[in-house]
């Protein structure tokens, strides 16, 4: 087994063909981390997602893409032109031997190649096909182009991030893709129960927009129950209970959710509670209505402290506060170190030592302390076409010359 899980893995026995681009390559990455046998199927020349940054050495070369590396860890890689007649036949042979196919093409594309769910199920009735697209397989926007910011915007995620006077901010990274990918992985394992029990597969349709809307926390609930529409208000959350305040050396994320009395006592002990000890501030409704004043007083106090003081002392008193840190600091975090969260990547060669976050789990059944880097385009062609599908070396050369692989 190529993943960090040795021998019998959590998901042994699940083979996944991954046709997905950056929209859902994280989906089968998660399942590969859990020990599924994932084969990345790229068009000859490689997946366009290899052109996405950031790049190692800031060198915009397809083999140096760090986002591609991250999203394709623990997978094996082959090249195959599924638009080519013979490529299509080979894909069907692979699908026959697989449990799952993951794809992110525009709706109807696979049908056009006669590789739609009906065709795949004829070849392999148990097959689960996961389609992850911007807006799903149906509806007036099904053919719209998407990207992480389009999904975030339409899904309702961006509108609450940012300052009222400025443009909405998109949550950093590919949050929409990651949420859709997590839902995809969950969907596959749900469909898997039926696959095992009945031998019948499923076509799963995930809309990235819907996945985002499903994770908005308060927004839709507030609207449906109170007709309230949340807007941006800087770091202050919609409920006025969370905000970020400056300290001597940085910023602290605080909440006013719990333990008001303890907080006021703490500030008073340092002579900085001002009028917050007055009885009317003890009433939460009053406090939240006049939260501006509370924050002003708190800020005069936090500015006298370091983030570390407030974090450590606060946590001793069970305040769920934390410093706002840059990602550099996360790499050095003692909690992550203690739990071995960043693991080594095998196969990157001696030129650099990179580590990646493992999945956020410690299993009692398996230990994970390393992973395999993403495959180069077509790296495992021989192993899979010759070793597993029974092609000869000559067949392989011919397919290569004909640009099928």
């Amino acid at each position: 087994m190529k993943s960090g899980l040795k021998g019998d893995t959590l998901l042994s026995g699940i083979r996944i063909l991954d046709l997905a681009d950056e929209k859902a390559s994280f989906c089968s990455k998660i399942l590969a981390d859990l020990g599924a046998a994932v084969i990345k199927v790229e068009p000859p020349g490689g997946d366009a997602a290899r052109n996405r940054g950031p790049f190692a050495g800031n060198n915009a070369h397809p083999e140096e893409s760090l986002s591609f590396l991250y999203n394709n860890i623990n997978k094996r890689g082959i090249t195959l032109d599924i638009e080519h007649r013979r490529g299509r036949e080979i894909f069907l042979r692979l699908a026959e031997k697989s449990e799952v196919v993951v794809e992110t093409f525009q709706p109807g594309y696979l049908d056009g190649l006669k590789l739609g769910f009906d065709v795949l199920s004829r070849v392999n009735p148990g097959l689960v096909l996961l389609s992850v697209t911007g807006f799903g397989q149906s509806g007036p926007r099904k053919n719209f182009k998407t990207c992480d910011s389009v999904a975030s915007a339409y899904g309702g995620q961006m509108v609450t991030a940012g300052l009222p006077a400025k443009a909405p901010l998109k949550p950093y990274g590919d949050q929409s893709y990651h949420i859709a990918s997590l839902y995809g992985a969950i969907a596959i394992l749900i469909a898997r129960r039926k696959q095992i029990r009945t031998g019948v597969g499923e076509h799963i349709d995930i809309s990235i927009q819907e996945a985002v809307t499903s994770t908005l926390e308060h927004q839709m609930i507030r609207y449906f129950y109170e007709k309230a529409v949340s807007r941006r208000q800087g770091s202050l959350h919609w409920n006025n209970l969370f905000c970020i305040l400056p300290c001597r050396d940085g910023f602290i994320q605080i909440t006013l959710f719990h333990q008001w009395e303890t907080l006021v006592e703490w500030m008073a002990a340092e002579g900085m509670a001002e009028d917050l000890q007055d009885a009317h501030w003890a009433d939460e409704t009053f406090r939240l209505k006049h939260v501006g004043h509370v924050i002003e007083v708190l800020q005069r106090w936090t500015e006298k402290h370091t983030t570390r003081e407030l974090f450590e002392l606060g946590q001793l008193m069970h305040f769920p506060w934390a410093p706002v840190v840059a990602p550099e600091a996360v790499l050095k975090c003692p909690q992550h170190k203690s739990r071995g969260f960043f693991v080594d990547i095998d196969g990157c060669g001696g030129k650099r030592s990179l580590k990646v976050p493992r999945l956020p789990y410690i299993f009692s059944s398996h230990t994970v302390d390393r992973c395999r880097r993403a495959p180069l385009a077509g790296e495992d062609n021989a192993e899979i076409y010759v070793g597993e599908l029974g092609f000869t070396r000559e067949d392989l050369d011919r397919l290569s010359v004909d640009q099928v692989i």
Partner: protein, 395 residues
Amino acid sequence: MKNRMLGHLRIIDFTRVLAGPYASRILADFGAEVIKIESRQIRRAAGAYRGNYDNHWNRNKRSVTLDLGRQEAREIVRLLISASDVVIENFSPRVMFNWGLDYEKIKAVRADIIMVSLSGMGQTGPWKDYVAFGSTIQALSGLTYLTAYDKNQPIGVGYSHADLVGGLYGALAVLTAVEYRERTGRGQHIDLSEYEALCTTIGPAFLDIMANSGEIVPDGSPGGTDAAAPHGCYPCRGDDRWCVIAVFSQEDWAALCRAMGRPSWADDPKFNTFQKRRKRKKELDRIIAKWTAARPPEKIVRLLQASGVSAGVVQNAEDVAHDPQLRSRGFFVPLTHPRRGDSVTERSPVRMGREAATHWKSAPSLGEDNEYVFGELLGFTRDQLSAYIKKGVVF
């Protein structure tokens, strides 16, 4: 018909607030029998997350009441566990242990039990007892720092995004362990850290720092290091109306120039490569913003999408609730609560085949399923149950 794909799975649910309930809701939506243990202690800790939020996050679940402060209640929990497949909880690490319901103990009750413990920092490590809400974790992970206009004023996402990510990983943990148990007969404990969960969503940023020994400075642009330029969020006509536009290719660029009525710019040597457009980002953003500001976002997006350019409307909750795309897919479904009346909930974004869920049960009222669970499942007589109620073990 309610989707029954997970109909064989019984889950004992100790979760509260958001991350844990979201995890078990995902499974309940597919027919898993999720039995929420409502103890006085759990309800106190949940605080403001009752009411409408409770209805939303606990739909399709069952509810029993038990005062876990009492030994007899914990005995009943052990009986329940012996008749179940999964235990899921999101307390601080010490709580289940103090109740004698930690994995070592419940494994003795049922050897193949699956237990998922979802906590802020995980069950081990120097920070294991730290208390954390979603925003705490967002601050610690780098997400809040990176979601900002510049590095001098961190802003963040504006809500507890990390809890939802933690919940998704929680549901995935259960399903993974179920798959493993089905094949091997073995249960297990999964220690899930929400802090780690959120960090997995910014993996490439960590790799960037390690590989390039650099820092990442937030600049408010949605693309980050994406392969699009221009790529931004632009003001449109109307009150707080915005759109996003991402130009990934030369064809996209030409289409945007045509849409803006400047077709000759497509080949203008100032802008005709990705590198040049990225370098002149500020200048381009100003030009585009001037064009978008005079038009409603829907019109801009329709125009650009017709030429295959990635563009989208920044929607607020009201827009989302009336979104024709979501409406056409029946994304919002009625949810009727016996006391709260009619409302709406979003369906699961996991859609498959004919077994699609169309009927949704509102969150259970407190102890709604006491009779079913204690009577039918555990076989208590009416007298036994009344005795427990009298003693306050069941309330």
